[in-house]
Subunit: 381 residues, 2 copies
């Protein structure tokens, strides 16, 4: 049994108000190609399919495309579970009507944990889809007393332990936060104060656990309890993460073997740093200048329309930080000297843009005098 484990697609997500739909289509196509290349028996998506409970219609249409291609054309079954970002009812609509097609969507939590037997070209496996559920939901649906995420998961896993898989290896699919996991800035916390953390030990008894929620690929406790990570970088804090899907193969003893299959983005998400003039110069020959960028400008003077200037070279600058104007505590420092210097710089810049020429010395002196006059008036008023 060989399958691809992926998660946190977040279809419909925006990065600093920029739609990522084309980027998502690009990388989803790669995942489909990897599934074909490795001749997998299934595609597992461990939650956060969409970025929010009411995704835009274009996101729904994109997922529909992917599902048609994988399930109907390639005949590769998909199991996907709802994550904390998904609207469980919406995602799970008519899921019973899709089962025969090979599309298994686990939406709202049900009293009996969903078990799905998938036949592989070499051996089969039993998959258990646990949608994201907070302790209150588990209490309500399973009519039990649990108050922490860990106790809730323990309760759900009881059923997986007890379920008769006919000797088949057991693969758990879950969307949760394992204790010790490395976070990024793009995950929405499951609860306040850390009560959402679950011991990885709960999952070690199973043959493999396909996790979603954390955006960096990692394993916890044991190497068969894994996060695949998201398919794209969804925050600048992830700039150094390598995104991938996890290829998992269960051998005849049910032991899991893995390989990380790298994904490449249509546009990378990265941070560049330096003086405006230098960055503009480098940008002209940067083949990746269409990447999504956070720019940290180290210039210590005011700059007119820095964003516009940057975007003329790097069209997808999404965020700008003026680190050159920041004090050590990270706040923008606006001393009187800074402001004064800034005003003159700003006007000089404006003058050049409008007239096409630099200011003459006489013009500069006149302007400096005018600014000083204004400051005097300001002080006396």
């Amino acid at each position: 049994m060989k399958f691809i484990h992926t998660s946190d697609w977040h279809i419909g997500r925006q990065l600093h108000n920029q739609s990522l739909l084309d980027d998502q289509r690009f990388v989803l196509n790669q995942i489909v190609e990897l599934a074909v290349l490795h001749d997998v028996d299934a595609l597992i998506v461990a939650g956060d399919i969409y970025d929010r409970s009411i995704p835009p219609a274009s996101a729904v249409a994109l997922l529909d495309e992917v599902v048609n291609r994988v399930v109907n054309e390639l005949k590769i079954p998909i199991i996907m579970i709802a994550g904390n970002h998904d609207g469980h009812e919406r995602l799970g609509f008519a899921s019973r009507q899709m089962i025969d097609s090979g599309l298994h969507i686990v939406g709202p939590l049900t009293k009996t944990v969903t078990s799905i037997e998938l036949k592989g070209k070499q051996g089969s496996a039993m998959f258990y889809g646990l949608p994201y559920a907070d302790p209150a939901t588990v209490r309500h649906v399973l009519d039990c007393e649990v108050s922490t995420h860990e106790a809730a998961m323990d309760k759900l896993l009881e059923q997986v332990h007890e379920h008769d898989s006919n000797g088949l290896p057991k693969v758990v699919i879950s969307h949760c936060f394992l204790d010790g996991g490395s976070e990024s800035e793009s995950e929405r916390p499951l609860s306040i104060g850390g009560a959402d953390k679950i011991s990885p030990k709960l999952f070690t008894p199973f043959n493999y656990t396909a996790l979603g929620h954390l955006h960096g690929p990692q394993y916890k406790g044991s190497d068969h309890v894994r996060y695949s990570g998201s398919m794209l970088k969804y925050s600048f804090s992830e700039q150094h993460q390598n995104k991938s899907v996890t290829l998992v193969e269960l051998d005849s003893e049910g032991k899991a073997h893995f390989e990380l299959l790298p994904l490449s983005a249509m546009r990378d998400v990265r941070i560049i740093e330096g003086k405006l003039a230098e960055l503009l110069k480098i940008g002209k020959t940067d083949v990746n200048r269409e990447d999504y960028l956070m720019v940290r400008l180290s210039d210590k003077t005011a700059i007119l329309d820095a964003m516009g200037k940057l975007r003329s070279v790097y069209p997808n600058v999404l965020h700008l930080e003026r680190t050159g104007l920041m004090s050590d505590n990270g706040k923008v420092e606006l001393s009187r000297d800074h402001i004064k210097k800034g005003e003159m710089d700003m006007f000089s810049d404006f003058f050049t843009q409008v007239s096409g020429d630099a200011m003459t010395e006489a013009q500069q002196q006149a302007m400096t005098a005018a600014i000083d006059e204004l400051h005097k008036l300001e002080r006396t008023s």
Copy 2:
């Protein structure tokens, strides 16, 4: 081939801010029971499944319940098309994955009109699902030049004419506005100025046309071109409509025979009219006092908290009209006399509610004097 034709479920709709979900569950259960009772081969829903493109999660969950019951438990196929209220992409998500289950959802318009062959216990039929599509959509998807709703429909129906149904009768499912159709207040106009109207003649060549959009059951042009009407009264303008589903049977020659199967609502939608005291008296013995009511009060005096008083007897009064205070032009008339009379009445009412006693004559005189004094001050200020 025997099927039930229904439409305009509008699941998730509110009536004057009142959720109708329980009422909708009640009447949907009736539709399911009628399908069983008449041993039908299919259930056809001609659009406006939901009330809006983003229905509440509870509406999605209710439709999921209905679909599970009909398709999975009763094994009765369903064909539903998107109406002008539905979000086509959302409704149509994963529809290809549902086909084998017997659930056919026609979401966004596609280049090739969707044809679905259903086998009945006595004879089969070919169904053509045409989702609601305005001329611009038809132009775009079919890459043709049409500017009116009628020309767009004509273009779509070309395909139905040309399609080889292997000799099976052709049933068209459409959501549109036929010329001459009777409107209610609860349909959202398809366009401004009447360019949305389509000649019923376009549909007469087919064995049956199952229409949605108009909320009153009716046929146009020919009795086999029919609106089933909505399953519930969705506005007070529909108070005299009898809601039903249409039972259709195609005989061996492909001729359609019909029967309207009445639906009864959990709570009726109706208008009552009269003086407050009379209505409160009648209400005490009215077994249907939980109906959704519009109340038209003919009292000519001001009344303190009329809505509260009515709701103490009729809990579901949704709208109140003070017809007694209206002039012939339908506007509330507030002559100086009316207001004066109103103030005293209102205070007297308030006094009785607070003290439990009627005002004595002396108290009335004192109050009248006080009101007059206030009016004098008002005039001089």
